[in-house]
């Protein structure tokens, strides 16, 4: 842990020196173009990335992820200590920290917030802290967390948005009978302890944040963060429009720049085209159930899957889809995910081998199959169109089916889909989340594919309690080996987060977990 902390410190220092090349300026409002609006600003009950990725600006957590997304650093808790048996965690709150309404943050608020987050059926994120047994307080600064079992990921879990600390009294004073109703009311005017406060929200149009006067962290100039007076999130779903608004100077930053535009914006004089390292991987999910729609499913044959993998020219796809921005996957998890193993691209393009495997699998003549594509999603269309061409080489005739998201999700959940495009981003600085979904069959049937490896399941269960980092790393190495060899996915590429910012904007960061960090952002006048 220490080495990580040191690395972070060094990185921060480097970043700091590079920043100090400019004279830091405080004040001003940053206008940031988002592709979709948030839905629900409750950290526990929210459902989607559109909420998750900006929540840290409103709500603070006890611990914070490091900027590389792999480690943990102090947040509202200035100190934390995990007992040697791994069953107890002690945290100490910072001095004088307050919520955005000025009320002090007490251990009681913390205990209540964590218990609410851990409560079964409260939202869909509780699984990350399912190990928490009880939370108690001691004095006016100390929090004791008792675990059901040793949890190697508990520290990382306390950086995740759903463990954000909310003021118990104000929350419970919100109108409504149930927790959900109260949360609905509370989330309209959230009170947290993040660097910003929600000022106004015009759903589907814009969201205005202003600086939180009570935020605890200090900036480089020794004054409290954030530097900005406020942030205006403007909702601009159309990619081209979002970029046009940025280039015309109407907004200062824009997220989700299409890969096709990255090189163009890079060469633009007044923009910084940022490619933030991410945990994002893009892949094709294959349904490997032996029978599908009453017919034998060729995809259930691992050799077929390997053949399909070998038949994909990843470099070409990276060119076509990401315009060179992405890179080939070396494991099912991204290189930015802790405990990632792998140094060379999976399944190098090898048509002969693919054909051979098809022959061995008894599908020399190929077969017809289909893939779900999110309607209108240019990346998925491009990737699938390329796959259609590539797999045609080994006799697989691929039909593209564009559907809307709910339709796709339903087929996915029902396990009736054949293939689908998919992408994944970690929410926690630990490999357990992605592995639980991809590999472990008991979460959602390994991405609803019906794939199952008893060995991997056992390894995963063991790793969830394994406190020895080295042993845990070995477990993950083995799981990656199994999955990468015969798993139900065709890994395509991993990509950074493409964010374009005006040259006047400094200090913005999107960490590999996706969180947009505006605390240290400042803007030249």
């Amino acid at each position: 842990m220490k080495t990580i902390a040191r690395a972070v410190f060094t990185a921060a220092l480097l970043l700091g020196t590079s920043l100090s090349a400019f004279a830091l300026e405080r004040g001003g409002t940053l206008t940031y173009g988002r592709y979709a609006d948030s839905l629900f600003l409750d950290p526990v009950l929210n459902d989607a990335n559109v909420d998750i990725w900006i929540l840290s600006n409103l709500y603070d957590t006890l611990l914070l992820p490091t900027d590389d997304g792999k480690g943990v650093q102090p947040g509202l808790a200035s100190e934390y200590k995990l007992a040697d048996d791994g069953m107890n965690l002690t945290l100490t709150l910072r001095d004088g920290i307050r919520f955005s309404d000025g009320s002090p943050i007490t251990p009681a608020d913390v205990a209540w917030s964590l218990k609410r987050a851990a409560k079964k059926d409260n939202g869909i994120w509780g699984f990350m802290i399912e190990s928490i047994d009880d939370v108690t307080t001691e004095g006016d600064k100390t929090i004791l967390i008792k675990l059901k079992h040793p949890d190697p990921a508990i520290l990382a879990a306390l950086t995740v948005f759903n463990t954000a600390i909310l003021p118990q009294k104000q929350f419970e004073a919100s109108p409504g009978a149930t927790d959900e109703e109260k949360a609905k009311a509370f989330a309209e005017h959230p009170i947290g302890s993040g660097p910003f406060v929600l000022k106004s929200w015009d759903r589907g149009s814009s969201m205005k944040l202003v600086r939180n006067e009570y935020y605890w962290a200090k900036g480089e100039d020794g004054q409290p963060l954030p530097y900005l007076d406020g942030i205006n999130f403007e909702l601009i779903p159309d990619d081209a429009t979002r970029i046009l608004k940025l280039t015309s100077g109407e907004i200062d930053g824009a997220e989700f720049i299409p890969y096709s535009r990255v090189n163009e914006l890079k060469s633009s004089g007044n923009l910084n085209m940022e490619l933030f390292p991410s945990t994002r991987v893009a892949y094709i999910t294959l349904n490997v159930r032996p029978q599908l729609g009453g017919k034998d499913n060729p995809l259930s044959n691992p050799k077929v899957r390997q053949a399909m993998n070998f038949a994909v020219n990843k470099e070409a796809i990276i060119q076509i889809v990401t315009h060179g921005v992405g890179k080939p996957q070396t494991s099912y998890m991204s290189t930015a995910t802790p405990l990632h193993v792998g140094d060379k691209p999976l399944y190098p393009y090898d048509l002969d081998k693919a054909k051979l495997l098809m022959k061995e699998a008894g599908f020399e003549g190929g077969f017809s199959t289909s893939i779900l594509v999110l309607a209108g999603n240019q990346d998925e269309i491009a990737a699938s169109t390329a796959l259609q061409q590539m797999w045609a080489q080994i006799g697989i005739k691929l039909e593209l089916q564009q559907v809307d998201n709910p339709t796709r999700t339903q087929q996915y959940r029902d396990g009736t889909f054949v293939m689908r495009n998919a992408a994944w981003t970690d929410d926690i600085a630990d490999p357990n989340e992605i592995t639980s979904y991809f590999v472990y069959s008991k979460t959602i049937d390994a991405l609803h594919t019906g794939w199952k490896s008893d060995e991997a399941d056992q390894l995963f269960e063991a790793s969830q309690k394994e406190m020895d980092p080295k042993k845990r790393a070995e477990q993950y190495a083995r799981m990656q080996e199994i999955y990468n060899a015969e798993g139900p996915t065709v890994p395509l590429y991993e990509t950074p987060y493409p964010v374009a910012l005006s040259k006047k904007v400094h200090g913005f960061l999107q960490i590999p977990l996706g969180n947009n960090i505006f605390a240290k952002t400042w803007k030249e006048k």
């Binding site: 629900f40 759903r203 814009s206 159309d238 809307d404 339709t407 979460t443 959602i444």
Partner: protein, 312 residues
């Protein structure tokens, strides 16, 4: 008095229309594959999560029961709460519909401003060069997909010439009008083309009417003949078309609002389809149906006002 009974009759006619639309919408949205929970929760949801949410929304009830509850709520004026956005549907509609109204209103205005003088020029220079140019240009306007026109206008007028903002929606009224100009123009082009075509034909027809000859024989000034006798009569048939096209205009707003990042009802409608946000979809459909029906009513009244023969 005849106008009054005419209005009442039209209002009564709206009732079966709205009920019909209500039933169609209700059935249609429930035929859509996927449910609100799937739409909301995305790929990571577990089955238990999905079931819990559908139970909360009452979607585990039989469809007939759902419809009954729905109608009961609508009758009491409650359109329910948005599943995705977690606010009441009525507040959402009140927030979004005015934007779309302003957009369609503006584009209707632009279309009129474009179509009326040009139709007159085309009609008076019939079969000659100005007529051919005007008709050709509008023909093209009619043949271009709305999204394409939008992108082109955006690129040229906003990004290159920087005459207009790229999109979005301002805060003050003036600012909003300024922001909505380009999207309104986008919508207006094809609308103006339809209007122009119709108006040109009716101006030609009216020009040949005997009362225009009679007006000439009375020694009236040409300006009087043009405005009082030709244009007013020519507008009568165009008013109907104008009303009918409002529905089309609202449909076009769906795409325009997406391209120009205008937070209007059209986009909300699409979002609610994609989000399987049943209450919003239903509420919005009712609101739009009532709105369009009212537009028909207003155009009928305007027509009755223009043409005393209608309200007998």
């Amino acid at each position: 008095m005849p106008l009054f009974s005419f209005v009442i009759r039209r209002l009564l006619q709206m009732i079966p229309t709205v009920i019909f639309i209500l039933i169609v919408t209700f059935i249609l949205v429930r035929l859509l594959p996927g449910d609100p929970a799937s739409a909301m929760l995305g790929d990571r949801a577990r089955d238990a999560d999905v079931e819990r949410i559908n139970r909360q929304l009452g979607l585990d009830q039989p469809v007939v029961v759902q419809f009954f509850y729905f109608v009961r709520r609508v009758v009491t004026g409650d359109l329910g709460n948005s599943i995705g956005l977690k606010v009441s549907v009525s507040s959402l509609i009140l927030q979004r519909l005015p934007v779309t109204l302003m957009l369609t209103g503006m584009s209707a205005l632009i279309a009129l401003v474009l179509a009326v003088p040009l139709a007159f020029i085309a009609a008076s220079k019939r079969e000659r060069l100005p007529d051919s140019i005007i008709r050709g240009a509008f023909q093209m306007g009619l043949s271009m997909p709305v999204f394409y026109v939008g992108i082109v206008l955006l690129t040229v007028f906003a990004a290159q010439l920087k005459l207009f903002p790229v999109g979005g929606y301002g805060d003050t009224l003036g600012d909003r009008l300024y922001h909505l100009f380009l999207p309104a123009l986008t919508l207006a082009l094809s609308f103006a083309a339809v209007l122009m075509r119709n108006l040109r034909a009716s101006i030609i027809e009216v020009m040949n009417a005997e009362y225009v000859d009679f007006a000439t024989a009375k020694g009236l000034r040409s300006r009087v003949i043009l405005f009082r006798h030709i244009l007013r009569n020519a507008l009568i048939s165009t008013v109907t078309l104008f009303g009918l096209q409002i529905g089309t205009l609202l449909g076009g707003a769906v795409i325009t609002e997406t391209v120009f990042a205008v937070p209007g009802a059209g986009r909300l409608l699409i979002d609610s389809i994609y989000g399987r946000d049943y209450p919003v979809l239903q509420g919005l459909t009712i609101a739009l149906a009532v709105l369009v029906s009212l537009t028909f009513l207003i155009t009928d009244i305007v027509q009755a006002w223009l043409d005393p023969r209608i309200a007998r």
